[in-house]
Amino acid sequence: MKKKKRILSSIFMGLLVIFFYAPILYTIVFSFNDSRSLTKFAGFSLQWYEKMFSNRTMMESVFYTIVTAVIATAVSTFVGTVTAIGLSKSKAVLRAIVEQVNNLPIMNPEIVTAIGLLMFYSAIHFRKGFLTMLLAHIMFCIPYVILSIAPKLRTLDQNLADAAMDLGCTPWQALIKVIVPQIKPGIVSGALIAFTMSFDDFVISYFVTGNGVSNISILVYTMSKRINPSINALSTLIIVIISVFLLLYNLIPAIAEKRNSKRIKATED
């Protein structure tokens, strides 16, 4: 009876993994398809990769996606960190208000945030393009950074910064040398969330961009109206990059740990 249950749950989990990964595998396989079809595999070819790399709009959208994500992550991580530290020392009323407003872009449906920004830009006659998209990305990334740093600040020992200042640190030095190192894990995870939010965003970018500027999501959305296997090639490229990134992210701490333990062992000997 118990064995039967175990087999059943293994089958269920197996089907779930197929459900999760079949589309990803499918995309990779058909990116090497020799024909235009999305359903019949006509032999191996790299033509869709060639077409992708020679397609200017595709390459531009990849470029804009990366540039936007990098700048939005850098700015939102900096502003988010500074604000979170400031908030932890602010009066309760101000903190409550800022936290509430900060939650709005997270709780609201993306499309609501998007149309709000669209109307705001048009109200101040700000021409839609790269800059409007970048500002929007910074806007929706900062709340996530603040949310991931705030809990770290709450558990922080107040006395450490005070002690640093008693020993002659300026408030600025205390900030850089005492507070920031302690909340570093929160900053790193905040930056990571910001990057993926920006990299993946479709809805908000779609409404606030213009002037021919698009990111990968918008490109897939507009191109999918007609069958175009170059999208599969682009998808495969993204899948590979993310896999490598995740692999490194999961491996580097393990490798670093190993090195550290070796070092500890070496000092012990």
Partner: protein, 279 residues
């Protein structure tokens, strides 16, 4: 220490401009009507009246709610056993499973949804498979089934992770206590495990229902141009017909519906906890 307070001020100005002002604009547009020629605004409830008096719009709203509800239920029914299975695994396996579940969410949502187009075609993989058994071809592309499938595919990892977290946070001595007191496995589950994991299910619901109601790219990609949900109506008001007032009114209606449903689920969660602590 007080000198750090100033660090908040730039962000206060920023959110006033970039978050609060756009929200005010939505309210403003939703309750006004643009006068012709010169820009003239006057207060009106016409936009809301137009939405609620038109059968087509009400049908779209009903369809959106239905699709989001079905998606959420399917995510719970498939996600709960999966989360339960992972929570029962050994520590090392747990981390591997979490990685397997989260990996697809790192890939762009549009890319993941696009992948289904080939699979669901009339001559696609699924229909070829069904063909072996003499079934089909079953038309799946551009149906509600495809839209729900796409939504479940995109949102189920969040449900699994939420339930999994609440299951691992659970105090296992409570289950042991229930067993010691003579409860069988089923009773253990329904009386101890399930109620304790409910907060995870609730936060999972918010993470699935909310994006499902407002999604407009999944219905467009998998449902086709004829298949319209609330998100698509809002999109077309802003990007094709240019009726911002009506678009704002619809998104306000949608936001209110979402807020009410979030409030109700939270209330349910709380009353459940109170009930348990009372008995």
């Amino acid at each position: 220490m007080k000198s750090y307070r100033k660090m908040t001020y730039p962000y206060v100005v920023w959110i006033a401009i970039m978050i609060v002002l756009p929200m005010i604009l939505i309210m403003f547009y939703a309750f006004t009507k643009t006068g012709n020629s010169v820009v003239q605004f006057k207060f009106t409830l016409e936009n809301f009246a137009r939405f609620f008096s038109d059968r087509i719009f009400l049908e779209v709203l009903g369809r959106s709610l239905r699709v989001a509800l079905i998606t959420t239920v399917v995510c719970i029914l498939l996600g709960y056993p999966a989360a339960y299975y992972i929570a029962k695994c050994s520590e090392g396996l747990k981390m591997k499973w979490v990685l397997i579940i989260t990996f697809p969410t790192w890939i762009n949502m549009l890319v993941r949804t696009y992948a289904w187009i080939g699979i669901l075609q009339d001559d696609g993989v699924i229909n070829k498979f069904l063909g072996f058994f003499g079934i089909g071809p079953v038309t799946m592309m551009y149906t509600e089934f495809a839209v729900i499938l796409g939504m479940v595919y995109n949102f189920i990892p969040f449900m699994i992770l939420q339930i999994y977290t609440s299951l691992t946070k659970m105090d296992y001595s409570l289950i042991e206590a229930a067993q010691d007191l003579g409860a069988d496995r089923l009773r253990c589950f329904t009386k101890v495990t399930l109620p304790l994991s409910l907060p995870g299910v609730i936060s999972g619901i918010t993470l699935v229902f909310l994006p499902a109601v407002s999604s407009f790219c999944i219905p467009k990609l998998l449902g086709g141009g004829q298949y319209v949900l609330v998100g698509n109506v809002i999109e077309s008001q802003f990007l094709t017909s240019g009726d911002w007032s009506f678009g704002s009114a619809i998104s306000l209606i949608m936001a209110i519906i979402i807020m009410i449903s979030l409030y109700v689920t939270k209330k349910l969660d709380r009353s459940e906890i109170q009930e348990r602590s009372a008995s």
